[in-house]
């Protein structure tokens, strides 16, 4: 009986946890919408002009004003806005003259491709580097890692991109230049997923695949550097916490080999917090890609956003902001949930 009661209590708590999670996530999205609404309708002196552009005729202007419902109360406008966003309507872009939602769907895979390769580089190099620094605390490896991590907070991404292009593309010729493909490879493979590497592999066209990879490797490595710096630093501090525990000393006294002490006894418990860290840096990479894409003329969401910014194309700016913000929130919340599910202490 007692166990059943406690089970029920626990299940109830779990349900409340999930319900609370949904409510909090929904409220965060509503907050995001409120911010983009505020930026789009309240901040500009003339919201109509910021949507239609300054080359619009008076008739277009009036039509847009009525279509945007600017003659109605602010609260009504806001709920209209939320409603249309929920239906996937983000308005029309003045520079591409197409629905913003379609544009975003088309460009997002390019960003996803670059950020994913970036986070892979960051995790594959960053986690071992952090563990290594932790086992050599205070030695030169640790010092080098420290400076490296601080550089990750101090180097402008766009500058590193330009310097990378000057060295590895113009100087050494190791990688391809800006863009996703050389011009004579374009349109050779059908765009199934818009992720160039997958499309090329699906089509079995390996020359396109290698060309795409050589375009991708530099921007992805630069993005990877920033997540590497962060992931290595966090791994190091988690590892140091673990390695100072008594069970590590016990394992060593029992004669467990050092690699086993580090990778099994030490590393296993930090996998859960590491997932959160990796999730956070993945989200940060999506943000960092805005600058990198501009430098590398990478046709992703960041490039779309900056082009829209320069054309004062407000619907496109807000649409891109919404999408990046939503992905950011989702990744944050998912890593939160994963943490709770995977951490045995939270059960």
């Amino acid at each position: 009986m007692a166990t059943e009661a406690s089970m029920a209590v626990r299940a109830g708590r779990g349900a409340r946890g999930i319900g609370g999670f949904v409510v909090v996530t929904a409220l965060t999205f509503l907050g995001l919408l409120a911010i983009t609404f505020f930026i789009g309708r309240v901040v500009p002196i003339d919201p109509v002009l910021s949507v239609v552009g300054d080359r619009a005729t008076q008739a277009q202007y009036d039509a847009a004003r009525v279509a945007m419902g600017l003659d109605r109360p602010m609260v009504v406008q806001f709920f209209d806005y939320v409603w249309s966003v929920m239906q996937g309507d983000l308005g029309r872009s003045i520079s591409t003259n197409r629905p913003v939602a379609d544009d975003l769907l088309r460009v997002f895979p390019a960003t996803l491709e670059m950020a994913t390769l970036g986070i892979l580089i960051g995790v594959v190099l960053g986690v071992p580097a952090g563990v290594w620094a932790a086992t050599r605390r205070g030695e030169w490896v640790d010092q080098v890692m420290r400076v490296f991590a601080l550089l990750g907070y101090s180097v402008p991404a766009f500058w590193l991109g330009l310097v990378g292009l000057a060295i590895f593309y113009a100087g050494l010729g190791w990688v391809a230049g800006p863009g996703r493909l050389d011009i004579f490879y374009e349109g050779l493979v059908p765009a199934r997923t818009n992720v160039m590497l997958i499309d090329a592999a699906l089509a079995g066209d390996w020359s396109v695949f290698w060309n795409a990879l050589s375009h991708l490797v530099l921007p992805a490595s630069i993005l990877g550097f920033f997540s590497l710096a962060f992931i290595a630093r966090m791994t190091r501090s988690f590892m140091l916490d673990q390695l100072g525990q008594e069970f590590i000393t016990t394992a060593r006294v029992k004669g467990v080999p050092e690699w086993r002490v580090i990778w099994v006894h030490g590393f296993k418990p930090i996998r859960v917090p590491l997932i959160t860290v990796i999730g956070l840096s993945y989200a940060a990479l999506l943000e960092g890609s805005v600058m990198i894409e501009t430098v590398f003329s990478w046709p992703g969401i960041g490039n779309y956003l900056t082009t829209a910014l320069l054309n004062a194309d407000m619907n496109a700016v807000l649409g891109a902001t919404l999408v990046i913000g939503s992905v950011f929130i989702l990744i944050n919340k998912i890593s939160d949930v994963l943490y709770r599910v995977l951490d045995p202490r939270s059960k």
């Binding site: 409220l27 965060t28 907050g31 995001l32 409120a34 911010i35 983009t36 930026i39 789009g40 901040v43 500009p44 910021s50 601080l150 550089l151 907070y153 101090s154 180097v155 402008p156 991404a157 766009f158 500058w159 330009l162 310097v163 292009l165 000057a166 113009a170 630093r233 966090m234 190091r236 501090s237 989200a283 940060a284 999506l286 943000e287 960092g288 805005v290 600058m291 501009t294 430098v295 956003l305 900056t306 829209a308 910014l309 320069l310 004062a312 407000m314 700016v317 807000l318 891109a320 902001t321 990046i324 913000g325 950011f328 929130i329 944050n332």
Partner: protein, 300 residues
């Protein structure tokens, strides 16, 4: 009694003596950390450069000389010249003023804003807390750079709008810290004592709550400086921040983009200035945290 003994006296006679003694202890702890000293030196150098720019820079930051276009770094032009023949070193020197102005204004706007919001939320609790922290969390869960970009897009390009946009995205972190600090002492006896003698809420918050939040706030603001500099430079790079011919470092890199393959120095040199100054703030922030806020440990 020497000055040092007076400063380190365990039973200071006056408030001034106690404060000076505390400052002295912090200073000497900071001086034992080589990275923090390096950071402090870099920032002092930045301040000096900004202050004495007209005497340090050999040439005018805006004067053009089309006969000396795109010259590589040499004894005469340490960092070379740009596409209008302007001395890049002089522009970088004058650019320090813009960078300093941006970080100072962002800090002056966003730190007090976050401090007050967080302290009010923590002090009153209940619904005030829930609403203010809900707002803070929404801002915190959004990407800062994107938010700043969107704000600048709505406000229009320009250095003032860039500063406003960055400040709008920077305050939530400070609100969180101020709230956490306030929660630890809102029920302390000395706060209740002030309340008993009839101190108003405003007086309690401004005189007794806020001062206790400042040390962790200083640490956080210093650590955030690098991020603020990078965001400002990014806005400048995209053409949304400082407008030409202002020698803002990010905008200078953007101008040099066209020449990166042949005249690498135009884009590269301002970048070194950004890195140096950001690193300086990182080093100092790390050191300050170890001194002022030991409970947070040595990690970010």
């Amino acid at each position: 009694m020497s000055t040092r003994d007076w400063l380190l006296d365990d039973s200071p006679a006056t408030l001034t003596q106690a404060n000076l003694g505390r400052a002295w202890r912090m200073m000497s702890a900071l001086m034992r950390n080589p990275l923090a000293v390096a950071g402090l030196l870099i920032i002092v150098a930045l301040l000096a450069t900004a202050l004495f720019a007209p005497w340090i820079a050999p040439e005018s930051p805006v004067g053009q000389n089309l006969q000396a276009r795109l010259l590589p770094p040499s004894a005469e032009h340490w960092m070379g010249t740009d596409e209008l023949g302007r001395d890049i070193f002089s522009r970088v020197v004058y650019g320090s003023r813009i960078t300093l102005m941006i970080v100072a204004l962002v800090a002056v706007i966003s730190a007090p804003l976050g401090l007050i919001i967080g302290a009010v939320a923590g002090y009153f609790g209940g619904w005030v807390d829930r609403i203010l922290m809900g707002l803070t969390d929404v801002f915190l869960s959004l990407p800062k750079l994107i938010l700043a970009l969107a704000f600048v897009a709505a406000l229009g390009p320009g250095i003032e709008n860039a500063i406003i946009a960055i400040a709008i995205t920077a305050w939530p972190a400070y609100a969180r810290i101020a709230r956490a600090e306030t929660l630890t002492f809102r029920n302390a006896e000395y706060i209740q004592a002030v309340r008993l003698v009839g101190g108003s809420h405003t007086r309690i918050i401004t005189r007794h709550v806020l001062p206790l939040c400042t040390s962790s706030m200083i640490v956080r603001v210093t650590l955030d400086m690098a991020g603020i500099i990078l965001t400002a430079a990014g806005l400048g790079f995209l053409g949304l921040g400082a407008q030409p011919p202002l020698p803002e470092w990010g905008a200078m890199i953007s101008r040099g983009r066209t020449f990166i393959l042949d005249q690498w120095w135009v884009a590269t040199m301002p970048g070194f200035a950004i890195i140096l100054v950001s690193l300086g703030f990182c080093f100092l922030g790390d050191g300050l945290r170890d001194v002022l806020d030991p409970k947070q440990g040595g990690e970010k």
